[in-house]
Symmetry: C2
Subunit: 294 residues, 2 copies
C-alpha cells in the first residue's frame, strides 16, 4: 500500500493526528478550511498543503477527516470539491468526526457506489490523547477496509476496534457519551452535597473513590471541579452537539434515556450561564449557581 495519505480538518484533534502520520513516515497532504492553519502545520511537520479536499485526496490511498459536524462532513467528503471527487477506486475514507450514525450509513453507500470505502471512526481521549498518540478509536464499516487502515490509525491510537457495519463506530461513541452524562451529573451532585453538608469534599473523595462510587471522572476531575476550573477537557458546546445526535438516534432505535435527556438540558443551562466553552464537568457550577464572570 502506498504511503500517500490525506488529512482533512486540522482542529485541536486533527492537527496532532495528521502530525503523527507524517512523523511515522506517511506522505501527508492536508486541507483545512482556514488555510493559514494548514500552512502552519506544513511548516511544523513538512507535509503538503492542498487548496480543496478533492485536491488533498488525489492520489491518496487513505483519506482521513476530523471536522465539526454532519454538514461539514458531507461538504468535505461528497460536496462540490469534496474528497470523493479526487479519490481513486479502492481508496478508503476514514472519518474521525463525531457525527450521526445515519450520515455514516449514507456516506458509506455513496462511497461504495464509487468503488471506494467509507469508515466511521470517532475517537475518545481528547486533545491530550490526540497529542500523545493515545486515542481510543471506534470503527464502523467494511472489515477488509478496516484491516487495511488499522496500521495507519495505530500511529495515534492506544486502542482501535471495529464494532460492526457502517455507523457502529458512531453508535459506540454515543454509548460513551450517555454513560458520561449520568456519571458526571451524579458526581456533581455528590460534590455539591458534600460542600453544602460542611464536609471536606477532598477527604470524602479520598474515602469513596476506593469503592463502588469510583470512576475515571471522580479520580481525574474532582479537584478541578472543586476549584471551579472547567478548562480541562471536552467543551459543553461539543457535548450538546453529541447529545443531540444521541437523543435523535435514541428516538429512532426506541431507547429510553431519561437522565441523558435531562443532563442535555442542564448543559443548555450551562451554555446560558456563559459556559459553552467550559468542560463537561461544569455541571457542578450549574448546581452552585456559578457564572462565567466569577
Amino acid at each position: 500500500m502506498s504511503k500517500q495519505v490525506a488529512f482533512i480538518g486540522l482542529g485541536v484533534m486533527g492537527y496532532p493526528m495528521a502530525g503523527h502520520l507524517q512523523t511515522a513516515g506517511y506522505q501527508v497532504t492536508v486541507y483545512n478550511r482556514t488555510a493559514a492553519k494548514a500552512r502552519q502545520w506544513a511548516d511544523q511537520f513538512g507535509g503538503a498543503v492542498a487548496a480543496t479536499p478533492a485536491e488533498a485526496a488525489a492520489g491518496a490511498e487513505v483519506v482521513f477527516a476530523c471536522v465539526g459536524n454532519d454538514d461539514d462532513l458531507r461538504s468535505i467528503a461528497v460536496g462540490e470539491q469534496g474528497a470523493i471527487q479526487g479519490m481513486n477506486a479502492g481508496s478508503i475514507f476514514v472519518d474521525h468526526t463525531t457525527a450521526s450514525a445515519s450520515v455514516a450509513r449514507e456516506l458509506a453507500e455513496q462511497f461504495a457506489r464509487q468503488q471506494c470505502q467509507f469508515l466511521d471512526a470517532p475517537v475518545s481521549g481528547g486533545q491530550q490523547g490526540a497529542e500523545n498518540g493515545a486515542l481510543t478509536v471506534m470503527v464502523g464499516g467494511d472489515e477488509d477496509a478496516f484491516n487495511r487502515v488499522q496500521s495507519h490509525i495505530d500511529v495515534y491510537s492506544r486502542s482501535v476496534q471495529r464494532l460492526g457495519p457502517a455507523g457502529s463506530g458512531q453508535l459506540c461513541k454515543m454509548v460513551n457519551q450517555i454513560c458520561i452524562a449520568g456519571l458526571v451529573q451524579g458526581l456533581s451532585e455528590g460534590l455539591h452535597f458534600a460542600t453544602q453538608a460542611g464536609l471536606d469534599p477532598h477527604q470524602v473523595v479520598e474515602v469513596i473513590s476506593k469503592g463502588a462510587a469510583q470512576s475515571w471522572q471522580m479520580e481525574n476531575r474532582y479537584q478541578t471541579m472543586l476549584a471551579g476550573e472547567f478548562e480541562h477537557g471536552f467543551a459543553v458546546d461539543w457535548m450538546r452537539k453529541d447529545l443531540g445526535i444521541v437523543l435523535d438516534e435514541a428516538r429512532r432505535n426506541a431507547s429510553k434515556l431519561p437522565v441523558t435527556a435531562l443532563v442535555d438540558q442542564f448543559y443548555a443551562d450551562v451554555q446560558e450561564m456563559g459556559g459553552g466553552r467550559w468542560d463537561t464537568s461544569s455541571l457542578l457550577a450549574r448546581l452552585q449557581g456559578k457564572t462565567s464572570d466569577q
Copy 2:
C-alpha cells in the same frame, strides 16, 4: 483498654463483622433481635449471647451496632433495654448502621450526657467486604473516641477515616450513594442504548472502559446487568431507604439533587416491578421493561 466488646445486630453485615472481632481476640457478646441467629453466631465463633442490648453492653468498653434504620438504632441504643442502660462511663458506642445524620447528632448528645461517646460509622463494601474484612468505614464524632476504636474497626476494614464531628460519617456515606445513583443510571442508559442500537454491548464496554466513561460499576456490574442477574450487591429496598435519608438531608442543607431524586423514583418503579430485593444495577431492567417473574 479491655478486650471486652459487644455487637448488636447480626445481619448480613454485622454477623461477619462481629466474627472478625471475636477471631481477632476480642471477647464479643452479641445481641440480635432474632435470638436463633445470635446462638448460631456463638456456635460458630465462640462468643457470648445476651438477651438485651443493655445486657450485651454491660462491661464492654466498645459497643458496636449494625441495624436497619433510625428507629431500630434508637431502640437498641437508648430504648428501654438499650445499650446505654448497661454502658459504663467512658465507653464508646460505634454505629455501623446507615442512618440519618440527625439521629447521629441526637444520639451523640444523649451519650455525652451519660459520659459515653457515640460515633457514627457507616460502611461501604457490602456483604463481600464485611466477610473479607475489607470494608470502608466513614466515621463522625469525637476524635479521641475515634482514636480509641480505630484498631478494633481495623479488623474488618481496609480503610477507616474520620470525616469530622457527629453525623459526618453518615454525610460521607450519603455522598457515596448520590454518586452511585447517577452513575448506575447513566451506565444503564448506555447499555440499554447499545442493545437497542444492535451493538455487542460487551465489546462496547471493552472499548469505552479504557477512557473517561470508566467506573467501578462499569467494570464490576456490566456483565451481570446484561445477563439480567441482579443478585450481586446492595438491594433496591435498602438503596431507597438511603436515598430517602439523602433527600431529607438535602432539603435541610439546601443541596440541589435533581438526578438523585429522579433515580430514587426509578427505584420505586423497580420495587413496583417486584425488584425490591434486586441489586441497584437493576435500573437497566426498568429501562428494558423486565419483570421479576421473567
